[in-house]
Assembly symmetry: C2
Homo-oligomer: 182 residues x 2
DNA sequence: CAAGATATGTCAACATGACTGACATAAATT
DNA sequence: AATTTATGTCAGTCATGTTGACATATCTTG
């Protein structure tokens, strides 16, 4: 933990001491921790830039994304997926409804439920943002073979908590199969 | 883009309509997009919980992390890495200084610079949080062979913007030759 | 040396997106 | 009929980001 290879880098020259500090090393997965930070930062950055033109933020993107992807999602499902309070969701959802990106339909069985659907306008927004992110992903996967791609998918799945999965995670992981073994 | 399988999912059944909406498919990498969302959510969630006990937030974690990992980082470097304004950084940095998690040293060459270092107290915090995240990563990588791990690392690197890299990214990617170990 | 540029810090105002708590309404369940 | 559930809303707070203006110390340059 106090394994500082700092002196190693500062002996390089006086004028360099603050220019290129050498990273510490040790028993942690600093590599993956930092790669995840930067990769996610740039990944969501793609969408952030576009969203400004619509006057929306990340919160709107997340709502639009899941409503588009899982048509007929209930408000309660969305709360589970996003892990925010209904008051927080209410604000952005109201905007998206008012501006015609999402429509609500009353549930057929349970008329208390409000099932959410993306309008064509909403679909266009989601598609635009997903296109940017897909471009980045496709670029990143370009030189990776199928086994590598499978490993990436397996890794990301294994990073996700499987206890108490919400509706969307159930869909992603497949309902019933609790173990990704074969 | 208007490839909607909307009607298909909503006619599934009356009793199931809101329970398990079927995801749309298409030309996008929805799989990776959503896996990244959930994986990152749970990855940062590990630290979030611990941080509450310290009265800190994610912003404090990010600052502590990079100061610990790259001892002697300048304030300006930190601004580049975190991509926030000095006013935003100032607030959390002041707290971390006041509470003894970070110390500043005046630069030897340029006495205007404030070089940042983690105190033992700061190191302990970073190690605790990195430990949680490392546990998750180690668990996720457990059943993946070395080629797969290499593919994961390659993928995450390729997801990061390489134009205008900051000091930390230079260290991660190596300025021509240097590779960070482990 | 004087003048300007740079690194940092600070004050004030504001925006977004979280939060808690309280309460309202309609519809389903018991 | 009473209670629970799904949703919506009002009001206040907090964390963390923003812009703009300005101060101070120090380095660089004419």
């Amino acid at each position: 933990m106090t394994d500082i290879n700092f002196s190693k880098s500062s002996v390089a020259s006086d004028s360099q001491e603050a220019a290129s500090p050498a990273p510490r090393t040790g028993e942690f997965r600093w590599d993956i921790i930092e790669l995840l930070f930067f990769a996610y930062r740039d990944f969501v950055g793609d969408a952030d830039h576009e969203l400004e033109a619509f006057g929306f933020g990340r919160a709107h993107h997340r709502v639009m994304h899941f409503v588009y992807r899982y048509p007929g999602l209930k408000v309660a499902d969305l709360l589970d997926v996003l892990r925010i309070t209904k008051q927080s969701l209410g604000r952005v959802l109201k905007q998206l409804l008012d501006e015609g990106y999402i429509i609500q339909k009353t549930g057929n069985n349970d008329r208390r439920q409000r099932l959410l659907y993306a309008t064509p306008k909403g679909e266009a927004l989601v598609a635009k943002l997903a296109g940017l992110q897909t471009d980045r992903i496709t670029r990143a996967l370009r030189d990776i073979n199928p086994e590598g791609v499978a490993a990436i998918s397996e890794f990301l799945r294994a990073m996700i908590d499987r206890d108490d999965p919400d509706k969307v995670l159930e869909a992603i992981f497949g309902i019933g199969s609790k173990k990704p073994r074969e």
